[in-house]
């Protein structure tokens, strides 16, 4: 059996040897110990509290607090993207923040933002109303003027040709009949002017017609500019309308229908000079409001950008803390000895590293008692741990997607390094496209460091993660392409002409 010991170690082909360890951690150094162990990433904890529900676990409150904080961070991220600000690059030098401080800070920021949003919403609403009022004045003024012009000559004709009224009635249109009564002030004919979404205008007209049994006249014109809808934040097209009617009942009905359809009514004075005066007033108020709104938006963007520069760090911190507390929940809390007992698996070779991390934790937390870490025997089968470097990492992931090998089982990923790209190349088989793939892979590999630190889109991330796979695929495809004699689907005679003759004499 001696020859088996002299063979080289099978690092990549078999899982690392794992041991089962038990940690006994005093309470004051627990948090720090788990944090350092987490940064190492070499210990897998067993869940000792699996029969308890999420609320019964020791650190359930902390987990809830972390959840609340991550909700606030999510809210900030939404606000920043809505405001259209670019997230600032992650600055490396910033003082570390404690979790409780962070919670307080986040709470403050959130309440500030909510207040600012509420204020700006109110301002926006008044701005929109004034804007709509201006549009209504512009268009409705036009209707009223033309209506009066038509009413005036009608009056004169009325006096002169009284006897031809009946003929006139038969031939005149509904508009003229409605306009027959005198200048609108004295008649029972009144009007309501307002603005409504273009999509609802048709139904609105129909509803008004039905409600008043046809005793109304509806005039509309599209507004030239789009108005921002306060609820969705999008620009909608609106139509200005004027409804002429008579009677008190009709008025109440029309007002209710306007409310039901979300049409905003604005009073338009009939006199032209008054109209002009009101328009001037509205315009000045609009410009004032615009200035206020701009100032408000600037203030909010400043607050958002100050949050944005810290956002990445905070998110990372909250995620780490949540993971630490989730792990702490897996440990058994022994109240009498005031310590936490945890069990887990770790690779045999990394035990010194773990011991060192635990020692650092004891020192940093000024604890009197050291953390005990001793090996235990167990009948459970250990989890598998393959050591990978950046070349084999992608292949290991591909194989793990089909299923992780059992402990000490042969690792298929070692063979996959060659077979996977080769089988790809057999199907790809074009040395022209292979050269393109090779260039792409080389760029990804040579720019490894720079691309690794950036945040890439989902497709680029996949391509970047598989850069070594792409490299090998390219090399093998060039080989296969030469065998198939395909260069961008065009055959070349690099290795001499073909040994076989064509049937067709014309074909070369």
């Amino acid at each position: 059996m001696g020859i088996f010991d002299k063979l080289p170690p099978m690092d990549y082909l078999r899982s690392e040897k794992m041991t089962f360890v038990q940690l006994i951690i005093p309470v004051e150094s627990a948090h720090r110990a788990i944090t350092y162990l987490g940064e190492l990433g070499l210990l897998q904890f067993k869940d000792l509290n699996s029969d308890k529900s999420p609320f019964q676990r020791t650190f359930a409150n902390q987990v809830k607090r972390c959840g609340e904080m991550s909700r606030k961070l999510h809210f900030f991220r939404d606000q920043i993207s809505k405001a259209g600000l670019l997230s600032a690059p992650r600055p490396a030098l910033q003082p570390d923040v404690d979790l409780e401080e962070l919670e307080v800070q986040l709470g403050e920021h959130e309440s500030e933002l909510i207040e600012m949003n509420a204020n700006s919403e109110k301002l926006c609403q008044s701005y929109n109303e004034l804007f709509e009022f201006k549009l209504v004045l512009l268009k409705a003024g036009g209707f009223l003027v033309s209506a009066q012009k038509q009413a005036a000559p009608r009056d004169r004709e009325l006096d002169e040709n009284v006897y031809t009224i009946e003929d006139y009635d038969d031939r005149s249109s509904l508009l003229e009949q409605e306009m027959q009564p005198q200048p609108s002030n004295n008649s029972g004919l009144r009007f309501i002017s307002g603005i409504i979404c273009k999509s609802k205008a048709l139904k609105f007209e129909r509803m008004l017609f039905r409600a008043t049994r046809g005793n109304m006249f509806f005039n509309q014109a599209p507004a030239e500019e789009h108005v921002m809808d306060p609820v969705t934040g999008e620009m909608v097209e609106k139509t200005v309308f004027v409804v002429y009617f008579s009677g008190e009942q009709a008025k109440s009905k029309i007002v209710k229908i306007c409310e039901a359809f979300g049409a905003n009514c604005y009073p338009v004075p009939e006199d032209i000079s008054k109209q002009r005066q009101v328009t001037r007033e509205v315009t000045t108020r609009l410009s004032e409001l615009e200035a206020t709104l701009d100032a408000g938006i600037r203030h909010r963007n400043k607050a958002l950008s100050s949050i944005g520069s810290n956002l990445w760090k905070w998110t990372l911190l909250v995620k780490k803390e949540k993971a630490v507390y989730d792990t702490l929940n897996m440990l058994n809390f022994d109240v009498t000895k005031k310590c936490l007992v945890g069990e887990g698996w770790c690779p045999l070779l990394s035990k010194p590293q773990i011991q060192e991390a635990l020692q650092r934790a004891t020192i940093d937390s000024n604890s009197q008692v050291g953390i005990i870490c001793h090996v235990m025997n167990t009948v459970e089968s250990p989890p598998t741990y393959f050591k990978t470097n950046r070349f084999t990492h992608a292949y290991q992931e591909i194989v793990d997607a089909y299923g992780v090998a059992r402990y000490q089982e042969a690792n298929p990923a070692v063979y996959t390094v060659i077979t996977f790209p080769f089988l790809f190349a057999v199907m790809f088989g074009d040395w022209g496209h292979g050269i393109c793939l090779l260039l792409g892979g080389l760029i990804l590999i040579l720019r490894e460091n720079r691309l690794g630190s950036q945040k890439l889109g989902s497709f680029m991330e996949m391509a970047f993660g598989g850069r070594y796979v792409i490299l090998l695929m390219a090399l093998f495809s060039i080989y296969c392409g030469l065998i198939y004699n395909e260069f961008f689907s065009v055959p070349f005679h690099i290795f001499g002409s073909s040994a076989y003759k064509c049937h067709e004499a014309t074909c070369r």
């Binding site: 529900s53 999420p54 959840g67 509803m207 039905r210 209710k256 229908i257 039901a260 359809f261």
Partner: protein, 398 residues
Amino acid sequence: MYGFEALTFNIHGGYLEAIVRGYRSSLLTAADYNNLCQCESLDDVKMHLSATEYGPYLQNEPSPLHTTTIVEKCTLKLVDEYKHMLCQATEPLSTFLEYITYGHMIDNVVLIVTGTLHERDVQELLEKCHPLGMFDSIATLAVAQNMRELYRLVLVDTPLAPYFSECITSESVAQKVGFVNMRCRDLDDMNIEIMRNTLYKAYLEDFYKFCQKLGGATAEIMSDLLSFEADRRAINITINSIGTELTRDDRRRLYSNFGLLYPYGHEELAVCEDTEQASFGGWGEKWTKMTAFGSLVNHQDCIGDLGQSEVRGVVEKYPPYQSIFAKISYGESQMLDKAFYEEEVKRLCLAFEQQFHYGVFFAYIRLREQEIRNLMWISECVAQNQKSRVHDSVVFIF
């Protein structure tokens, strides 16, 4: 004779059936409900729901939570799923899916009309409406002052229009008998309830006819589910109208024309009230019968109880419904609702056992609504610290 749907169903309905079965597997199980019942506060409820499919919807709610918020967000999830299915559906599945929401439309219409009657604000009422039953001109219902206006102004454009003509034709019959012309009858509480039940009756009959037209497994399964619905409504109308001024004929008119109880059960149910009002002799006879069976009967003389024992007597002749009334002992009418829900849930779950029919969509929407009712009850109990009553009204689906 059907059985060949497997050949052609998947062409148009296969994708959506797979989608709805996926949604169905995400319904909360008994284990989830157990965990939820053990929650101490609404925050715990939210934490637990975040681990289920409701997570993305509840994730962004700030911490002091209200039961209405939870229910609103859960309903929003149902509406999103429904809209996703509706926009992918072709005929006749899209008509089928729309039929499912007409019931909610009727409820919304009645809600707004009642609210306007009691002088509530329209926007407030609109917020309380069920999102599945919204249509465009719904807010205009506030303008209508009597039934004819209601129809002429608003309902004529909606899918509920044909059901309304039933309302109006029944009025013309009433006219012949010398009743007041219902067209001009004002909307008051009693008439609105009658209107709601008449509309619902017409809707159920229409839906039933539509399913029969579709044929095959859909017709069979849906007719079973709709018959149960019709019978349940008949029983509820009977029990609720005992002691009110609803006449026997009016009540008879509110029962649907299909279902297990049609027509003989309806005849008997319509007379159920009469036993109390009618001759003392009749009542005396009932009384002696009861004393003869002494121990079986609870000797309370409230009319509702007697009426219910009447109803029970009628319904017990039909074996499928016998089990419902057997679960509740005499005098407990609150448990009747829960018994009906349990029976309904059992039948809805059975609809999923067969493939290649549209009944799964109907069953899924109903099961989701039951789940939202459960969640509302649990949240209310938790918020008001009455954890002992939690199991009173929760119906487990799995």
